[in-house]
Symmetry: C2
């Protein structure tokens, strides 16, 4: 199923599917008859000399010959394991995405193995080696790739889908949401509730369509954008942004937060400083995780259709249709207590 | 490095380490000279007949012969990938554990791949197949194993460490915390603050030492245990327990919650019903995740030494010392606003 490598043997690719190893292959490599292989493996009557037995076992091991059930499926050249790369497992968004991809994969009889790539924040590279050593049917990557990483991922010769993407990625099937539109919808909700000075909390400035969505919605309503707080996509980042917003004296009455992980901690910081949510500051976040519903107050948010996105990614792997394109999913507004809507 | 399978070839274990595949093995299987293999692979002057070339490539593929760098390390029989099995990725405890194991593994030059086993809740079995198809140096399992699963895991012939365990597990290296002692410490903290009627929120009744720790601490102080709420270890479970506690009319002024995931949602339910935390109900939880510090109010908790536990588990894999034993780590009380301490 896993495409390349099926017709062309690829030297150096342990993960490439192989034709089924037969008992005859074992016999040939060991320099014995096929019957002797059977005697050794099945313990049938004829005694086998220790040295011969060892040669057979050596060949069995070297070829990875697997006479049992699981092995038969394996040696047909199919892996039913999909690799998933996420950055930080502590981010509820990635946890939820991993869960949905797991569900979608199980429905297709597949198993998912997850690689956490947050090592890269320390300047390390994604552990592509961890993937290349495994026998994977395909790989779903919920992260950005450097040029070098893109090269390496392509060299694995398995279907690859990038998910949680802002934009198209050359050479890859990419799945994302309408980040701009989702942010615009969130901020429009706050404007409709009467807010006139709306802050933004998010990550890196200048590259996130969510910040553009916020600014556009505000300007389209004839308002001036409120302050923008740029902090890491982590709990501590959200907490610091919440404190900064509490210190802001510019008359902000609402904030759009670009991730629920940041919003969780911002809620805490604002309440620590005595702000009532939504009375003093109304909040709308972005992601759509289960966790958002169980915070206090429950978070209003724009939700990604995570199940549909996960199904799509898994389907492209198992049908080997991960061709270059970009699919953007629409988002939906979920109103809960934090926006007072 | 990975123990069993190194000296004894194990039939049916693709993940078992193999001796390095040599060019001579390829030559023997293909029925050509070693020089011809080199010609085919390195493109040296002598032309090779198409049929012969195909035989060589076939043998290369079948043996997984890998003349390149990564491959050389691989074919020495070492994998540097550790498999980690957790149940639910959305539980902050497992997310934090996965992160610490990832950090510990990276410090040893290893990569971690995570398998989510929550499928089992629906009656499915752990996807051992997902592990057995992979080339792993060892496996860390933060879950309970059925008898059949224990058998299968043992058959993989790699070091296995069970973590987050209440008790010893026959045949396995097991790592846990003093669940009883941690719970006792949490409840003692509430008693010291003057609480006389303390509730318990946790999972399955009758098997959790945390519930025993709660009951013992209460009784040792000459008090009667308050109500016990048994709900699933999920956000919705914690939320339902919080609502039930809000409805309780027995004069409860504090609760010990057996997991931070449940406590997160219980905090929300209680505040939704108008209870002040800790004024009306003081809360102490159990786990020690980063998330607990960023909730409102920040959660008092008894913390597991996750880094030390993760280091220990990884060390036992990489040194191949995962012998049968049980190591219990002590816990520590972290006082934050939710207990009013």
């Amino acid at each position: 199923m896993s495409g390349a490598g099926m017709s062309e043997p690829s030297v150096g690719g342990a993960e490439a599917p192989r034709r089924r190893v037969t008992r005859d292959d074992v016999a040939r490599l060991a320099g014995v008859s096929s019957a002797v292989v059977s005697y050794v493996l099945n313990g049938t009557p004829k005694p086998v000399a220790a040295a011969t037995r060892q040669k057979v076992l050596d060949a069995v091991e070297l070829l990875g010959y697997q006479p049992n059930q699981t092995a038969r499926a394996l040696s047909l050249g199919r892996s039913n394991v999909i690799g998933l790369v996420i950055s930080d497992p502590r981010n509820p968004y990635f946890a939820e995405l991993a869960l949905e991809i797991d569900n979608a994969a199980r429905a297709e009889g597949r198993t998912v193995m997850v690689l956490n790539s947050l090592a890269r924040r320390g300047g390390g590279s994604m552990h592509i080696a961890g993937l290349s050593q495994q026998q994977l049917e395909g790989i779903i990557i919920a992260d950005t790739l450097s040029e070098a990483e893109s090269e390496t991922v392509r060299s694995l010769s398995v279907p690859v889908v990038l998910i949680n993407q802002f934009f198209a990625n050359k050479g890859f099937a990419s799945i994302g949401v309408d980040h701009f539109g989702g942010a615009y919808m969130a901020v429009r909700h706050l404007i409709d509730l009467g807010h006139r000075r709306i802050a933004f909390i998010g990550g890196n400035p200048g590259i996130d369509p969510r910040e553009e969505g916020w600014a556009s919605a505000v300007r389209d309503a004839g308002l001036e954008p409120g302050p923008a707080f740029h902090v890491p996509f982590e709990l501590e980042g959200g907490y610091q942004a919440g404190l900064a917003l509490a210190d802001d004296a510019s008359g902000v009455t609402a904030a759009f937060v670009a991730s629920e992980q940041q919003a969780l901690a911002a809620l805490s910081a604002l309440q620590e400083r005595g702000f009532a949510i939504p009375g003093d500051i109304a909040i709308v976040a972005f992601d759509g995780t289960t966790c958002a519903a169980y915070l206090w107050p429950p978070l209003s948010t724009v939700a990604q259709p995570l199940r549909a996105m996960a199904d799509d990614a898994v389907r492209r792997i198992v049908t080997n249709t991960a061709h270059e394109d970009y699919t953007s999913y629409p988002m939906s507004l979920v109103v809960r207590a934090s926006s007072g809507g």
